[in-house]
């Protein structure tokens, strides 16, 4: 007996012949993976471009080889050391402040960045006009963020007043090396030359100012050694150093996380598509069973028949993957714009061949793996079914090859998830999550089918009953549609609900009664004046609290440095090294409640021990308890204090809340500024007060909380748009799987329709049955997905965000209506004309 070779030309010829009149259908089968491949290639290719950009342009991400930053001016000894470096130096001082635009008579919170030197050394400040980037340094003018220009319809030559000094606007700032557009949304940037900073009079004692020194080294090889020599000084003065390489790695890792996540979304689309492929090939093979049986009858060996269909799948899978890759490259063109606001670098379009080849391999691999499941049935087709139509091919669930295939699919999917996330734990968690979602959806689908069968409404009208029964008839597509539509709905609605929960939390906190305007950087000698000004507008002073900036120096006798170096310490790093803005007062606020210890409002005159009250969360993060000693560094002065009380704080109230509160009489004389909160009636009143404030107290900044809220909404919108864009791939795949499923069952539907019409059903009845069936499918899949999404949104809100989840009914209804409409629309689009044509004609043409 001849050996059967996969490469036998006759097998390929036979596969080609056999695929006649089915090629369109076969292409449709694989089209469900096209979208997933496209998403994967687009994201991967974009990610690689991003990595490459970061690698080659890390210096222009920062604009310098090295950045030193500090919250206070650089001390003499640091300046002296730096002066010896063989490097060009630039200096930047930045702080939040109010800008006043006289022509439009309006104010806005901005970030002032005073610049000295030729920064950026790499890359450019992109401005309109381009020469403005140089001119502002020479003529003492300002560069203003384009968002502000747009907001107030400003023009070049207009004046912006910062503190006591007016600046002509030299140009619009479009892009600054290393800064994402989203980063400047809350406080847009205004660049001024350093020599004009003093004239503004904005920097006063206790102001919150960032100081940066930026360097360009003649020989960057020397930098590492010089930096090492500075380590002790940096630690001593709390100076942060960051090289271009480190900054690039940081940006890369953040961007990596983002595109890793998006890749997983693409992966879900791919998985969905794979199920679509498996299901479609299953139906295809069923359709081919008579031909297969005849082939076996006339002498084809098992392997020959198997190869014929394997070749068809392979070729179609390859075509699908190539189309997916091409589509992916096309989509990639869109991504740089989509991500532009979220990334600190401009990513140019270039095709990553590695990603394209990976896409091809993954597409082909997934197509083959999932198509093999139904293809294995070919091995079991009995030639007997050529003469006996009721002979079913044996589909033994214990087929060792089938079990092996399941195992390979599970291993491949896990390996792929791990490779995409580059972390074993994340990859495994993702696969577990997907498995749970798939299992839950499948279980619900099976439960529904069982329930429909078990509690069948026999009293319903015929069309309703017939269409309902179609959900569990043999060869039904209920499971695959429930999975694809359900998963798509699940993803989209989880995203929506989570976003809604987060936003509504910020937006609806008793906003009518809450403070909505906050003024900060009020100097001690301005406190009374600012209060008077606020009251002159008939506005309440809801709070006026002093703020002292401190750091922790030691906890329970161990220095912060020691604790930081101790790997066994339970203290959270961020809590140890952060800057603490503390206050002092003799009373508790209404947002606070002492849960442990005793509230001390004023230090007893005879006490030589200092007390402090801590918030419950920080007590946990600092691993301290009542009676423990913390040493605060209040601008150079070490102040040991005993934890005397622990407060629970309601952080959701919009007002200054504090981790640490001192009694009166401890830090009252430390450098400080005040924060005042009030409530304005509307935007107009807010503008009037802010303008008056800028004129009277130029250094006092106002934060309009409504504006902040809108900005937060805008940022969340931008992020969620990207996520929605990716979730769209899942939905699109779901729709294609739906179309494929409808088309694959078309023949069966035609037969049913013909039978029904032969038995006397009118066209409308046949159509009604089909519409109702798609309605059931859409509604059940949508409901299932939504049910799961409510569960996951609740879990996210409860466990991750610590919020109460209250789903809103209206969007729920809208999403469900959309899913049902799309399912019915697409179903009917693909089933059109089934009920129109004469039975005989259809039967002859569709065979």
């Amino acid at each position: 007996m001849n050996k059967t070779s996969f490469f036998d030309p006759w097998l390929w010829k036979m596969a080609w012949r056999d695929s006649r009149s089915n090629r369109g259908r076969l292409l449709l089968f694989v089209s469900s993976i096209i979208v997933g491949i496209a998403a994967l290639v687009a994201i991967n290719s974009f990610g690689r471009n991003l990595e490459e950009t970061i690698r080659t342009e890390s210096r222009s991400i920062v604009g310098a080889d090295l950045v030193l930053s500090s919250r206070s001016p650089f001390p003499e000894e640091v300046e002296a050391r730096i002066a010896e470096w063989p490097a060009e130096e630039a200096r930047e001082v930045s702080f939040a402040s109010m800008a006043y635009f006289p022509r439009v008579d309006n104010t806005r919170l901005i970030t002032v960045r005073a610049l000295e030197g030729n920064y950026p050394f790499y890359g450019t400040l992109e401005t309109t006009p381009a020469e403005a980037a140089d001119n502002f340094r020479k003529d003492g003018s300002a560069l203003v963020d384009y968002s502000v220009i747009l907001q107030y319809e400003l023009e070049i030559g207009d004046t912006v007043k910062l503190g006591n000094q007016g600046f002509a606007i030299a140009g619009y700032l479009q892009k600054v090396p290393g800064q994402a557009e989203a980063a400047s949304m809350v406080a847009p940037r205004i660049y001024i030359p350093m020599d004009q900073l003093e004239n503004t009079g904005l920097i006063r004692f206790g102001s919150r100012v960032n100081h940066r020194k930026l360097f360009k080294f003649e020989d960057s090889g020397e930098m590492a050694g010089l930096l090492e020599g500075m380590e002790a000084l940096n630690r001593k003065h709390r100076i942060r150093s960051r090289t271009a390489e480190q900054q690039g790695a940081g940006v890369g890792s953040a961007a990596g996380n983002m595109y890793g996540f998006l890749n997983l979304v693409a992966f879900i689309a791919l998985l969905l598509g794979s199920i679509g492929v498996a299901s479609a090939i299953h139906v295809y093979i069923k359709m081919k069973l008579p031909s297969l049986a005849v082939l076996r009858c006339v002498g084809a060996r098992i392997r020959q028949t198997f190869y014929i269909y394997l070749i068809q799948t392979l070729v179609i899978g390859a075509i699908g993957s190539v189309v997916g890759v091409i589509l992916g490259v096309a989509i990639q063109v869109l991504l740089p714009d989509l991500f532009a606001a979220l990334l600190p670098v401009q990513v140019d379009f270039s095709i990553s061949w590695r990603s394209a080849i990976e896409g091809l391999i993954v597409g082909l691999g997934i197509c083959m793996l999932f198509a093999l499941l139904p293809l294995l049935t070919v091995r079991k087709v009995s030639p007997l079914s050529a003469i006996r139509t009721n002979i079913e091919s044996q589909t033994d669930g214990r087929d060792p090859l089938r079990l092996l295939l399941y195992a390979i699919i599970a291993i491949a999917a896990t390996a792929f998830a791990i490779s995409q996330t580059a972390r074993v734990d994340v990859g495994l968690s993702f696969i577990a999550g997907v498995a749970i979602a798939f299992a839950a959806l499948s279980a619900l689908a099976l439960l529904l089918m069982w329930a429909v069968k078990r509690f069948f409404p026999s009293g319903w009208r015929y069309e309703w009953r017939q269409s309902l029964a179609n959900l569990y008839r043999p060869n039904n597509q209920t499971l695959v549609l429930m999975l694809s539509i359900g998963l798509g709905t699940f993803l989209i609605s989880t995203l929506y609900f989570t976003q809604d929960t987060l936003l509504s939390q910020v937006a609806t906190l008793d906003r009518d009664k809450q403070p909505n305007l906050m003024m900060f950087d009020i100097q001690a000698d301005q406190v009374e004046g600012v209060e008077e000004l606020v009251r002159s507008f008939d506005l309440p002073v809801i709070q006026n609290v002093p703020i002292v900036t401190t750091r922790l120096a030691a906890i329970k006798g161990r220095t912060v440095e020691e604790l930081d170096a101790d790997s066994t310490s339970k203290i959270r790093g961020w809590a140890l090294k952060r800057e603490y803005r503390v206050t002092y007062r003799d009373t508790l606020f209404s947002t606070e409640e002492v849960v442990e210890g005793e509230w001390i409002g004023r230090m007893p005159a005879d006490s030589d021990t200092l007390y402090v009250s801590l918030e419950t969360g920080i007590v946990r993060d600092l691993d301290v308890k009542l009676g423990d000693q913390l040493t605060f560094d209040v601008q150079g002065v070490q102040m040991p204090a005993i934890v005397k009380s622990i407060r629970k704080v309601d952080w959701q109230r919009v007002q200054p809340n504090f981790f640490a509160v001192f009694p009166r009489g401890v830090i009252d004389d430390a450098p400080q500024f005040n924060v005042l909160v009030t409530r304005v009636a509307d935007q107009a009143q807010s503008s009037q007060l802010q303008q008056a404030m800028v004129k009277a107290f130029p250094n006092v900044s106002s934060v309009d909380l409504d504006l902040i809220l809108k900005t937060v909404e805008k940022i969340i919108d931008q992020i969620s748009f990207v996520i929605r864009f990716m979730a769209l791939f899942s939905i699109l795949t779901g729709l294609i799987v739906l179309s494929a499923a409808v088309i694959t069952t078309r023949y069966q539907r035609i037969r049913e329709s013909v039978l029904l019409r032969t038995l006397g059903a009118v066209k409308q009845q046949v159509n009604r049955i089909m519409i109702l069936e798609y309605f059931y499918l859409g509604a059940l899949a949508g409901l299932t997905g939504m049910l799961l999404s409510l569960l996951s949104s609740w879990a996210l809100a409860y466990f991750m965000f610590d919020l109460t989840f209250v789903p809103s009914i209206q969007p729920l209804a809208i999403i469900l209506a959309l899913v049902v409409t799309m399912t019915v629309g697409l179903g009917m689009l693909n089933s059109r004309k089934i009920a129109d044509r004469p039975p005989l004609e259809i039967l002859r043409n569709e065979v």
């Binding site: 012949r17 009149s21 008579p290 009858c297 060996r301 020959q304 007997l384 003469i387």
Partner: protein, 236 residues
Amino acid sequence: MNKSIVLRVSNLVKEYQSGSRRLRVLDDISFDIEQGTTGAIVGPSGSGKTTLLALCAGLDQATSGQVEVNGISVAGLSEDERSVLRNEQIGFVFQNFQLMPTLTALENVMVPLELRGERKVRDKAASMLEKVGLGDRLSHYPVQLSGGEQQRVALARAFINDPQILFADEPTGNLDEDTGEKVTELLFDLNADSGTTLLLVTHDLDLAARTGRIIRLKGGRIVSDELTGVADERLV
């Protein structure tokens, strides 16, 4: 005239499990078919005719007993070996034609030869189609042919590999009387020309009467096995 045995069926039993019951559909069937003869298996529905045909052609396996085709015991063969046996020794004609819908008439006829590994088979297949009167329909797909034409293609396919024995399962069952008559004529003519052994399964007693031997089945048993004399005359 001494003729060799092309099909030997000995003590053939076929049982199926139907729910909790074991159903015996063929019970101790034995007969021989000689080379070049014609025969018909007749009997009422459910008498086991098609099951017997399937077992003889190696499409199914017997519960017990033996089937030998040209001296080769079917029971000892693997699935693939049985396929090769069918390809080399057996031809089929089905009631519902069973042409592959995606293949043209010519390609349908070429398949059995191509499966043998023969590659230049186009001319042979075309001349076979010519023989059945479809020389002008080579490139037509089954849906473009009438029922009678489809059955002629099926006949061409059945005879293309010069089978030792040809099994026909109700070959005229799906055709009108006139077409059925023409197909029957063609079947017997081709059979006579090629010297193939023909075993029919049919309800049609007139058709059965045109063969040399009629085996009657009832309840899975042979109730009579008679020579008609007609076929012998025809063959001689």
